[in-house]
Structures are given as structure tokens and as C-alpha cells.
């Protein structure tokens, strides 16, 4: 059962170390009780980008479906899609909007080369899963293009294939123009993993490369997964709420302080020392015994809170190391080294009781070996490796990606650049920690 010796309230600090909310009730950080978190999850879930420039190119050349398919009999060489993109946008909006005052948004991006579609709440409420934006938005785009340009029935399905690619013959939109933050449901590793399909590149792009905000957003989506998967319940709830607060929301300024203190000359070991100092002084851990060799064994006073401290330190160590090299690739080594050193030097449990170190070890292999995997920015928590750590690994991966200064072949700007534009007007994405803190103070009931 949860240890109740320490009250379940946290003080949250922003990414500049400034105290922004005191005595935030832990229960208020549960997505189902926090309107800011709900807003972020909702905004992400209802959004899709359609690459109109790609649609135009496909339809002009007959290169439809990707992988060098080329069928000139579908080509419409003079199709002025980008020239009349505002009219297409208006048509899309008229199809997608359910009432004149709903929250639907259809906006052009990149000088009209892309259109972002945010479905209204009623459509999302009526849909069974998170594929509605891609399908509704894609369908609206197809119909709008066909109608705007009065495309012949003999070429109309080419518009559909230009937008949806190989779908529905295959399970996703391969070769098409749909750009969704989510992977398709048929590629989920397990049930409830929808939010885990968001890649590090997308998260970092939304956070505009701010490392702490990237970690925060990553944590938000992991929390969405935990709710969806039935893992934010009962005996596990406090573990993950505390972990979210400390690792992702800079509770007690622990992450910020460690990075600030160690950023210039620090090492992973020194970050561990920082964390241990705070944990000892705050009575989160205590000495258990001193062995004849002189080695001191510690034990947690509050296991879940200790885990949160340790997770916060893991993020700090990532930021110190990946920040120093401005290179994301070492995040796996940092996580591995951090957890092993922590456990070996203190006798305390490492982050999530072996899960983080296991993930780190395999991540090291899969991001460095010839057996496949992919770069850090391409990773998501739906990956066979990262899925095994709940909540705690992805924030580090995202922070590392954010701190990378150009060593990635598949960086956020190349893979998910448009996502940096589409949530600019949503305060919850701009200032996730502040927004979540405010919402928690408003709505949290406290865990008693």
C-alpha cells in the first residue's frame, strides 16, 4: 500500500526554475481530473495535417501510392491545387464543421502547402477511436478537391489515393499525404497504446525544441496511455502520479536544480549525488546499514516518492550529458549508466525497479547496432523496447532529441516540422507545466 508518511502535495516549478504552484494535490495531476491535460490529449487526438503540396504533385504526375508507382493515366498536369488552396480549405471546413460555433479548426500552413484540420468535439465524441481526424479530414480533403476542380469520375479515386496512399489495401496511409501525430491502431503493440505512438520527433516539434517542455509533453501522453490501459489505478496510481510530477513537471525544482548545478562541469555521478542529497535531506530515503567494507546501504522511506526522485535525476542526467554534447544518441547510455550507478552505489531501487535500466540497455543496442531500431528522434513508446518502461523513459528520449544540435539524420524539423506550428495558439502546449499546475489547483481533490 502507498506510504502515507509524506503528504501527497507537490510544488511545481517551470522550466526556468520559477515556483509556479505550491501544494498542488497529486490527484489533480491525473488526466481525468486535470482540464489542461485533458485539453492536450484532446487537441492532439483531434488533429491531422494533410500535405496538399504532395497531393498536387501526385495528381499532376500520376505518382500515386509511393514507392515509385507511376500511372500517367491518372495525371492532371495542370491541376492548380495550391493556387486555389484557400477555396479548398473553405470547402474542407464546410464539410468538417458540425455547427457554426463548434471548436472545429481548418487552417493553412506553410503558405498553403499544408492544411491542418482539428475536428469538432461532437465528431470526436461520436467516434470510437483516434483515427477520425485522418479519415474525416482526409475524406473532406478528397471531396473538396474533387468538387473544387470538378474532377471526372474516372480520376476521382486518384484523388483519394493521393491523399490516403495505399489505404485501405494496407493498414496505414503509406505513400499518401496524411500526416497524423499518431500511428495507426493496427500497429499498436498492445491495447491502449494509442498515445504511445506519438514519436519523439513530433513531441519535440510541438515543444519547439524546449527540452523540459518536451519531457513534460511526453509525460502527458504517457499519462494518457496509463489511463487508457488501466494502469493509472489503485496500487500503481501514486507511483506514476509522483513520477509524472517529479520527472515531467519539475516538482520541487529537482530536475532544474540538478541541471543548473551540474550543467557546466557535471557528470552522471554528480547528478546522482545531487538526487541523493535531496532524498536524504527530505527523508525520502534513509541509511539502512553500513557494511563491514564501509559501504552504506540505503533504503527508501517512501518507495514511490523515491522512484520519482530517481526519475527526475534520470532526466537531469540526460539533459546534462546530451546537452553538453548537443547530441541525442547518448541518451540510452546515460539512462543505463545512471540507473546502474544509482543501484550499485546506494543499494536503492533504480527507476521503475529495473524497467528503466532494461529499456536503456536494449535502447543502447537498438540505437547503435546493426540489428535495427532507429534513431532517438524516431522512437516512440509503442516501440518493442520503450514500451516496457511506463512513463519514465520517453521523457528522457524526448529531452535528448530536443537538445540535439544536428547529429540526427531524421530530426524533428525534417520528420515532423509542421507540428511546431499547429498548437502555437494552445496555451497548454506552449506552457504545459504552468497549465497543468493551474488546472490541478483548480480541480484536484487531493488524495487524502
Amino acid at each position: 500500500m502507498p506510504n502515507k508518511t509524506i503528504p501527497d502535495y507537490v510544488n511545481l516549478h517551470d522550466d526556468h526554475g520559477k515556483l509556479i504552484a505550491e501544494k498542488v494535490p497529486l490527484d489533480g495531476l491525473d488526466p481525468v481530473r486535470n482540464r489542461a491535460l485533458m485539453k492536450m490529449l484532446y487537441e492532439l487526438k483531434r488533429t491531422v495535417i494533410i500535405d496538399l503540396a504532395k497531393v498536387e504533385k501526385s495528381l499532376r504526375t500520376g505518382e500515386i501510392g509511393g514507392e515509385y508507382c507511376r500511372m500517367p493515366h491518372y495525371a492532371m498536369p495542370d491541376l492548380p491545387l495550391l493556387e486555389r488552396v484557400e477555396k479548398v480549405r473553405e470547402r474542407i471546413e464546410s464539410l468538417v464543421r458540425t455547427s457554426k460555433d463548434d471548436d472545429c479548426k481548418v487552417e493553412l500552413l506553410e503558405k498553403g502547402r499544408q492544411v491542418v484540420i482539428k475536428l469538432p468535439r461532437s465528431t470526436m465524441d461520436a467516434s470510437a477511436d483516434y483515427t477520425a481526424p485522418a479519415l474525416v479530414g482526409g475524406s473532406a480533403a478528397v471531396q473538396s478537391i474533387v468538387e473544387e476542380f470538378d474532377i471526372s469520375p474516372f480520376k476521382a479515386q486518384a484523388c483519394s489515393s493521393a491523399v490516403f496512399g495505399r489505404y485501405p489495401s494496407t493498414i496505414d496511409f503509406k505513400g499518401g499525404a496524411i500526416n497524423s501525430p499518431f500511428g495507426v491502431p493496427l500497429r499498436l503493440e498492445h491495447l491502449g497504446y494509442g498515445y504511445r505512438t506519438v514519436t519523439s520527433n513530433v513531441i519535440v516539434s510541438i515543444a519547439n525544441r524546449n527540452a523540459m517542455k518536451s519531457a513534460a509533453l511526453s509525460g502527458c501522453f504517457e499519462m494518457g496511455y496509463l489511463v487508457n490501459a488501466g494502469n493509472l489505478l489503485g496500487r500503481y496510481k501514486r507511483l506514476y502520479l509522483l513520477g509524472f510530477a517529479y520527472e515531467c513537471l519539475n516538482a520541487d525544482n529537482l530536475t532544474y536544480d540538478s541541471v543548473k548545478a551540474q550543467g557546466k562541469n557535471g557528470t552522471t555521478g554528480k547528478v546522482i549525488c545531487e538526487v541523493m542529497d535531496r532524498a536524504i535531506s527530505n527523508n525520502v530515503v534513509r541509511k539502512k546499514e553500513t557494511l563491514p567494507s564501509g559501504f552504506t546501504v540505503y533504503e527508501p522511506v517512501d518507495l514511490e516518492l523515491w522512484n520519482a526522485y530517481a526519475a527526475s535525476g534520470m532526466l537531469a542526467a540526460t539533459m546534462v550529458n546530451c546537452g553538453a554534447s548537443r547530441c541525442a544518441h547518448s541518451v540510452s547510455s546515460v539512462m543505463l549508466n545512471y540507473n546502474e550507478m544509482l543501484a550499485m552505489e546506494t543499494g536503492l531501487p533504480d527507476v521503475e525497479f529495473g524497467r528503466a535500466v532494461g529499456t536503456a540497455l536494449l535502447l543502447d543496442f537498438l540505437t547503435h547496432a546493426l540489428y535495427g531500431g532507429g534513431e532517438v528522434g524516431l522512437m516512440n513508446a509503442n516501440h518493442p523496447n520503450l514500451k516496457t518502461t511506463k512513463l519514465f523513459a520517453m521523457p528522457c528520449v524526448c529531452a535528448a532529441t530536443a537538445l540535439d544540435a544536428g547529429t540526427l539524420t531524421y530530426p524533428p524539423e525534417k520528420m515532423a516540422g509542421s507540428f511546431s506550428q499547429i498548437f502555437k495558439d494552445v496555451r497548454e502546449f506552449r506552457d504545459p507545466i504552468e497549465s497543468i499546475a493551474e488546472a490541478a489547483l483548480e480541480g484536484g481533490k487531493g488524495s487524502g
Binding site: 507511376r70 493515366h73 476521382a156 531524421y410
Partner: protein, 558 residues
């Protein structure tokens, strides 16, 4: 009976001669005898099987094959099949997928093929790893890759390796649209587009491929048989990486991981797409191959450029084997029925004669291929002409109906020939497919039914689906596959490749859908001959085809 059918009866056409031969009855005979054929004993193959099974029962101690246990339907003549244009008579059993080594190899050869676009990989080698990529290094990569393709190690000599005799059919070759570049490569490992294709087609292909360098790989048959078709892309990517690691001296680091990610996930092109879990197959299975790819896998247009009908017939045949007989009836249904779908399109001159007639009709009606307007009127004209011709054929010849037993096969001949005709007339596959569907409506009005329920469902929905923009039913024909929403459990899938193939021939050019796939199947060092589908199947039926993937090298002499 129409005048056309009467004319046909005056001079017996080839299909009547062939049918009279295999059924041993005249075409004028409208009645036949029942229960006099000896049931299964009339088949030489079934008698052989019966004898084998009795021996097996003694050896194994459990019941084996025994046709006596079947429900007797002995009124039918079990006729052999004369392969159209080949002058060879084979038994039906010899055309069953599992009895025909050539057909099995055809499935394996598609499943074991993937193509790698090496251009992005070379960019990573140069930009991330600072390596100089030259024709010399590429030749060296290809040498090592052909070594690793057989399951050999390129980096560590103490790895356990595969006996090269088991994997001798695994290989990789390069192709490129730029002759200047191709000239610098080791000829042994180049697919020579200029040599393999007629000049005009070669020029078109090279133009569309540009200066990108592709590698077509065929993993060993034994690998795909052991590990399944989803193995292909992985095997090719990993063996490629080993070759790069060996030649450029790279080992574990983030850049190599980026390289392998690129190889495995971004630049490797499979033949069959991923399909829904419920069908139980991975990538590169027949259920995921786009119909347009099937048309590019067939190579008769390259080998016999002056005989477009041969190409059309080969596309129909390979589609019928892959989609109807193999995918739907064997892999999805569980192995019952349908081997006849290998036989009926290539036998007794029936389908050949229909296609030939309809091709002539196109020229007569529209003045050549690809001249018909893209209108609903064209669809109606093609459908009506094909339906009338086929129905006359069925009405005028009991032997044709006996060969195309049940409504199912008659429905197919009509739908497929209409699809070919519509494509051939207009150059647009939707006209072919729509004509195929409409023939079935016409036939239903004439006879009150089609084949069996699955065929009815598919053609009934066809018109609604072909013109729709509904998200899960609105894909161009070339990209659809057997896992397309309306096609998961239905027959007559061959309609679509036929319509695409007809349209391609009408338009001209060098490929139906994808130049990379066209070149990738232009050469097959060991395996099925996609340049002559029918002849290769006959070889299999006559037990003259030597398949790959045998285990002789590691089992006792037998």
C-alpha cells in the same frame, strides 16, 4: 442461338476440337451417359495416389488418402486438360498448386523478392560516415552482399553459416536508369535493362528510374519457406547492411543504426503490403500484392512485345493462381476446392478464343486499342458484347459448359474477358472492371444466378464501389489488393489485374504501375519464368521443372 454461334458450329473452332479430345464426346451431343465413367478410377493420377496411400497406411499405421470415402459423384467425366497453345494434355491433379513445383516456385519467388533503393543509403554513407562511395566500392558491396544473401557471415568468421547449396538461389543484382553509371558496375551483378527490354520500353524505364540505384534481391527459397514471406525485407536489409559494414569498415555506432533503420524501414520496397492481422500473413504474401504489381511481375510484354494477347492471358492466369486459387481458396479458406482455377483459363483454348475474339472486336468497334472514350457508354458496350459472346458460347456448346462446370467458372470467363476488353478498349482500368461487373448483371438476368454467393456479392457491389469516394472503398485499381475491403472473401479477383493489364497494353509504355517492379522481375536467375507463365506451369505439370529450396544437401540420399 445467335448467328455468331451458328457460324462457329460450321467450322469447329480450336476450343471445340480440344474439348472433344479431352471429353471424348462430340460437341453435337446434348446428352451424356451417367455413372459409367468409373468415378475416381478414371483418373490415372487418382489411381496412383490410391496405390501410394495403401503403402503409406502400412508404413504409418493410420488411415491415408482414400477416395472411396468421398461422396460419389460418379456421373461426371474426369476430363484431362489440354493446355491451350501448348499441345500438352495434363491431368487436373498436375495443376494443383501443391502438385506443381513451378506454381509453388512462383509463389515463393514473389514472396522472396524485395528491392532496395540504395541512393539514400549512399547519402548516409557519405554524409554521416564520411565514406567515399564509388563504383568500385559498390561492386565490392555487391560481391559481399551475394555472399551474405545466402546466409553467410561478413563480419565474424566464427558465425554458423548456411550450406551454400541450400541457398544457391539467393542473389542480389543492381539496376539503374543511367547507362553511364551502369557501365561502371560489375556486369555479373547488373540487371541489364537494355538487353532485357525492347528499345522503346528500355528507354521509358530508364527515364522513369532516373539515376537512382536499385538492388533487387531474392532471398533463398528455403528461407522464405522456413520463416515466411515477412522475412524477405528483413533478410535483404540485414544482409545488405553486413555487406556495407564489411566493405566500408563500419561497426556498432549510431550511424550504422541510422543506416540499418534506413535500409529496413525507409528504402526497402516489398512486393506485398502489410495486411490486416485477421488474414494471418505477413508482408509479401499474395494477399498484399497490389494488382498493378501483378501486371508488372508478368513479363510477356517484354519477351513477346508483338503478342500483347499473350501478356494479357498470362496476367489472367497468374492472377487466377495467386488470388483466386492460392490466396482465397487455399490460404484463406483452408485448402479446399479451387485448384481448377489454375486450369480453366489455360485449357482447351476456351479463354484464349474468347480473349482473341474480344480483342478483334475492340479493333473493329473502336479502330484500335485505347481509342474508346472514357464513358459509361463504353462500359455498357464492352459488357454487352462480352456477355453476349460468352453466353452464346455456353448456350451453343455443352462441352464448354461441362468444362466450365457450375456457374462459377462461366462467370469468371465472362468477367475476366470483359475486364481485359474494357481496359484494352479504353486504356483505363475502371472501364474494364466496370464492364466485368456489368457482364455479371447481364448474365444474372439471363440465367437467374451467377456462380456462388461470393461472386454475387462482389459484382453486386462493384458499381457502387468503383465510383465512390468513401474512405475505405475508394482506391485506384492498381493499388488495390486481395485484402481490399470488398475483396477479402470473394472470388473473381482476377477481374482487376485483367482490367489493369488491358489498359496498360492499350496505353503502351513499359509498365502498368511501377517501373521498379517491372525491372525487378525481368530476370530471375533461378526459379519461375515470369516471361512465359503458361509454359512454365506446363513444365511443372509434366514434372520437368526443378524447384529451389530443396534440402538434399543436408538430408540422407533419397
Amino acid at each position: 442461338m445467335s448467328d455468331m454461334a451458328k457460324d462457329k458450329k460450321k467450322t469447329p473452332p480450336e476450343y471445340i476440337k480440344a474439348l472433344e479430345k479431352v471429353f471424348n464426346e462430340t460437341s453435337d451431343e446434348w446428352r451424356t451417359k451417367f455413372y459409367v465413367f468409373g468415378a475416381w478410377r478414371q483418373s490415372k493420377r487418382k489411381r496412383e495416389f490410391y496405390e501410394y496411400a495403401r503403402k503409406l497406411e502400412k508404413e504409418m499405421g493410420i488411415p491415408r488418402y482414400n477416395p472411396e470415402l468421398g461422396i460419389p459423384l460418379g456421373q461426371r467425366k474426369i476430363a484431362p486438360y489440354e493446355i491451350s497453345g501448348e499441345g500438352v494434355v495434363v491431368e487436373g491433379e498436375d495443376l494443383h498448386i501443391c502438385n506443381n513445383a513451378a506454381i509453388m516456385q512462383m509463389f515463393d519467388d514473389i514472396a522472396r523478392t524485395a528491392v532496395m533503393d540504395l541512393t539514400p543509403v549512399h547519402e548516409i554513407m557519405q554524409k554521416r560516415l564520411g565514406k567515399a562511395v564509388t563504383p568500385e566500392t559498390l561492386n565490392e558491396v555487391m560481391e559481399v552482399w551475394n555472399h551474405t544473401m545466402g546466409g553467410a557471415a561478413a563480419v565474424q568468421e566464427h558465425m554458423f553459416e548456411i550450406n551454400p547449396l541450400l541457398t544457391k538461389d539467393g542473389y542480389v543484382k543492381l539496376f539503374c536508369g543511367d547507362d553511364r553509371l551502369t557501365e561502371l558496375l560489375d556486369k555479373r551483378m547488373v540487371v541489364d535493362i537494355n538487353r532485357l527490354f525492347p528499345k522503346d520500353k528500355a528507354e521509358q524505364l530508364k527515364k522513369d528510374l532516373g539515376n537512382r540505384i536499385f538492388a533487387v534481391g531474392r532471398i533463398p527459397t528455403i528461407a522464405v519457406r522456413n520463416y515466411g514471406s515477412a522475412m524477405t525485407k528483413r533478410w535483404i536489409a540485414t544482409t545488405c547492411l553486413s555487406a556495407f559494414a564489411n566493405v566500408y569498415g563500419i561497426s556498432g555506432e549510431t550511424a550504422i543504426n541510422t543506416l540499418v533503420y534506413t535500409l529496413r524501414h525507409r528504402t526497402v520496397l516489398g512486393i506485398g503490403d502489410t495486411i490486416a492481422v485477421r488474414y494471418g500473413r505477413g508482408e509479401n504474401s499474395p494477399g498484399g500484392v497490389p494488382f498493378g504489381y501483378i501486371c508488372d511481375i508478368v513479363q510477356a510484354d517484354r519477351v513477346y512485345p508483338d503478342n500483347p494477347l499473350k501478356y494479357l492471358l498470362d496476367v489472367a492466369e497468374i492472377s487466377s493462381i495467386m488470388l483466386d486459387a492460392g490466396w482465397l481458396q487455399q490460404m484463406l479458406s483452408g485448402g479446399l476446392g479451387a485448384p481448377v482455377r489454375v486450369a480453366f483459363l489455360i485449357s482447351n483454348e476456351v479463354f484464349d478464343s474468347v480473349v482473341k475474339h474480344m480483342a478483334e472486336w475492340v479493333v473493329e468497334k473502336y479502330g484500335g486499342y485505347g481509342k474508346a472514350p472514357w464513358t459509361v457508354g463504353t462500359i455498357e458496350e464492352v459488357a454487352r458484347a462480352t456477355a453476349n459472346y460468352c453466353q452464346d458460347l455456353y448456350d451453343s456448346s455443352p462441352l464448354v459448359c461441362e468444362m466450365l462446370f457450375g456457374g462459377s467458372l462461366r462467370s469468371r470467363i465472362m468477367a475476366y474477358s470483359a475486364a481485359l476488353t474494357g481496359g484494352l478498349a479504353s486504356g483505363h482500368p475502371i472501364i474494364g472492371a466496370e464492364a466485368g461487373h456489368l457482364t455479371q448483371m447481364i448474365r444474372k438476368e439471363r440465367t437467374g444466378r451467377l456462380g456462388f454467393f461470393a461472386q454475387d456479392q462482389f459484382h453486386m457491389q462493384g458499381h457502387a464501389n468503383d465510383w465512390t469516394l468513401l474512405t475505405d472503398q475508394s482506391q485506384i485499381m492498381e493499388l488495390r489488393n486481395a485484402s481490399y475491403p470488398d475483396y477479402n472473401v470473394v472470388a473473381n479477383l482476377t477481374t482487376f489485374p485483367c482490367s489493369i493489364a488491358g489498359a496498360y497494353i492499350a496505353r503502351g509504355g513499359a509498365y502498368a504501375c511501377n517501373p521498379v517492379i517491372k525491372v525487378a522481375f525481368a530476370e530471375n536467375l533461378a526459379g519461375f519464368d515470369f516471361g512465359d507463365v503458361r509454359k512454365t506451369i506446363v513444365k511443372g505439370a509434366l514434372r520437368e521443372f526443378m524447384p529451389e529450396g530443396e534440402r538434399d544437401a543436408v538430408i540422407p540420399p533419397h
